[in-house]
Amino acid sequence: MSSSSLGAAWENPLRDARDRRLPRIAGPSGLVIFGVTGDLSRKKLMPAVYDLANRGLLPPGFSLVGFARRDWEDQDFAQVVHDAVREHSRTPFREEVWQQLAEGMRFVPGDFDDDTAFKQLRNAVEELDASRGTGGNFAFYLSVPPKFFPKVVEQLKKHGLAKGRQGSWRRAVIEKPFGHDLASAQDLNAVVHDVFEPDQVFRIDHYLGKETVQNILALRFANTMFEPIWNRSYVDHVQITMAEDIGIGGRAGYYDGIGAARDVIQNHLLQLMALTAMEEPASFDADALLTEKLKVLRAVKLPEELGKHTVRGQYASAWQGGEKVRGYLEEDGIDPASTTDTYAAVKLNVDNRRWAGVPFYLRTGKRLGRRVTEIAVVFQRAPHSPFDSTATEELGANAIVIRVQPDEGITVRFGSKVPGTSMEIRDVTMDFAYGESFTESSPEAYERLILDVLLGDANLFPRHQEVEESWKILDPIEEYWARHGKPAQYASGSWGPEEADEMLARDGRSWRRP
């Protein structure tokens, strides 16, 4: 992909497919960050850019342009980036790398409706093309609330920044939320696609940049021992959990009215589910992956009785991990009558030959027992046991658990004989931990994603069709919740409301304690 942006006729004689030491370095390019003073930008984006430079993956002359409403000069901006890098970067700080990077830093002060600021941005971009050889290739990272998206993309279009000259590229990077229902997502996509072509738009779902998530594909399709049992003949059900131990913190304004299902299930959990359930793609390019993920998302069927197979909750005041925490309704800035869900659990069926009859249980919540994200594929029990019931009393179902975070890795659970004279069988686990076999080498999700944007590699970015399909799954549930009842209360630090346990008990199953 990187070479295609350089023109088809030119082939670099110093590159060769067999030369695998040479890293994938992004071509000449620059990154423009809107909302550069925000938390995400300081804690994730700037350190990721530095880490990429430190690993030698950015092109010589790579330039970083900040845009925000601050009265800063280029040096002030460089200082802010410097501090952010010193504090948050993954790799050690090296002066020479910093110097290389700092030379290409520019800052443009201004508002999003300020025409002079955008003129200045255009000048900065052109100046960088001349002085740093960025070749007209720029990615615009919109690290701003979605209500500003229309304004920013319109300004980019108006000032001729959205289209590069022949042979160069312009890309837009946007963060979630991608709307709050199907209609708003379509509106947003229309606004963005009015200015940028669909394949120029990169939607960041930072979960997809995580090594463990990419490893789902490796686990399933690079091995032969898992795929034969990855279907309804052997799998009993699948549980996908994303739990956080923190509350909403200072995000009341954003969170209230959105809730856990829209915030997490619509994007992260449905993406994880799609990767877990999809068929083998024809190749690992963006289009083939999109095709397979869309097939799965379109095959999703909601349960008939939503009241029985979905649960929402709100955390209540309780002791969590040794400290007393407030309930959701008591948080600052939250309406005491709010019906926003901080916990959501849904049961989904995938109606295709591979998965018919295998439920996928998705749950997410704030203020749960601990911070953990995992995918558990739980297998059916052995159809017949030659051991008598006392021998296997403690035996659970076999499971393959993909631990997305923390302690990234894979666990296989199976029964094993306990040493001793009698035949007694107990569950044991077999573990693969990333920290054990590949210590210290896992790059941050944002490093990978920013590099992919610069390379034009769209594999790890959900397309607008996926976003819209996901809303089609979630919208009926949200509508049902809006009309029926209110969120159940659960104690902070627990694993969610009792209703969620009942929901699985109804199917004769129970949640794993992750």
Partner: protein
Amino acid sequence: MKIDLTDTTASKINKALVKGRRAIGTPAVGMVLTMVIVTDEENAYDAIKAAEEASHEHPSRTLVVIKRHARSPRDRTNARLDAEVRVGADAGTGETVILRTYGEVSDHADSVVLPLLLPDAPVVVWWPVDAPMNPAKDPLGALAQRRITDMYAVERPLTALEARVKSYAPGDTDLAWTRLTPWRSMLAAALDQAQVPIVSAAVESEADNPSAELLARWLEARLNVVVDRVVTAGPVVTAVRLGTANGEIVIDRPEGPLATLTLPGQPSRTLALKVRATSELIAEELRRLDADEMYAVALRGEGTKETPSHV
């Protein structure tokens, strides 16, 4: 923890490894390769340190073979194997066994190493010094998928280079080549940007530098031009110049980690090109364990058939 064994055998060492693991409660999982370091007492410390640092990226069992030379004729007839087993915090993220061979055992070190290799995992042999003339034919080298030598650690690097050309077998690699990766990736990136045919080339370096020679041969093979070797005061490689119809592409690193990149018609800019520590070189080597065909191309200074021709 450390277990010292005197006058021992491979099976006793294996028992000690199991005992050590039991004692600290971690099973032998997650180790991805066996690294065999063949060295002398003088260089052992630095080599072990580099390997342990590299093991943070590639957890491995490290077997260090140190051939001892007895000082008296009487001792020389006495064949003996001493071992020091380190597991847990004393051994990076893997296990380290230091094997000291005396007398005749030194000639049969492979018989000690073979039973200690991890099942199924790839084997890498690294000679920090005194690499054999033909690494692939060496008894220890024959056990390995990957054989790492270092032309910086020999008296006459360019003679060694010719020997490597003759004895090359798939799986051979040399740290003099590894050291070039940042240079090569920057040159490739510069050419991505310039997109012009190269008509001449020059590599500037200190005298008798094997990396510079490999770089020159690589450029000759890939660019089909004659590369001038220019001797400078160093350190190591100081500059590469690629001539084009519009002017020169230059990466210049007179000293320190900062280099300057100049492209025709564009202002020069700085580049970070640090001389890397041995542990980083080893970590890079261990990332890919299949044969490095490009190293073979660089050694010979000419392309192979699969390479498409460029003008």
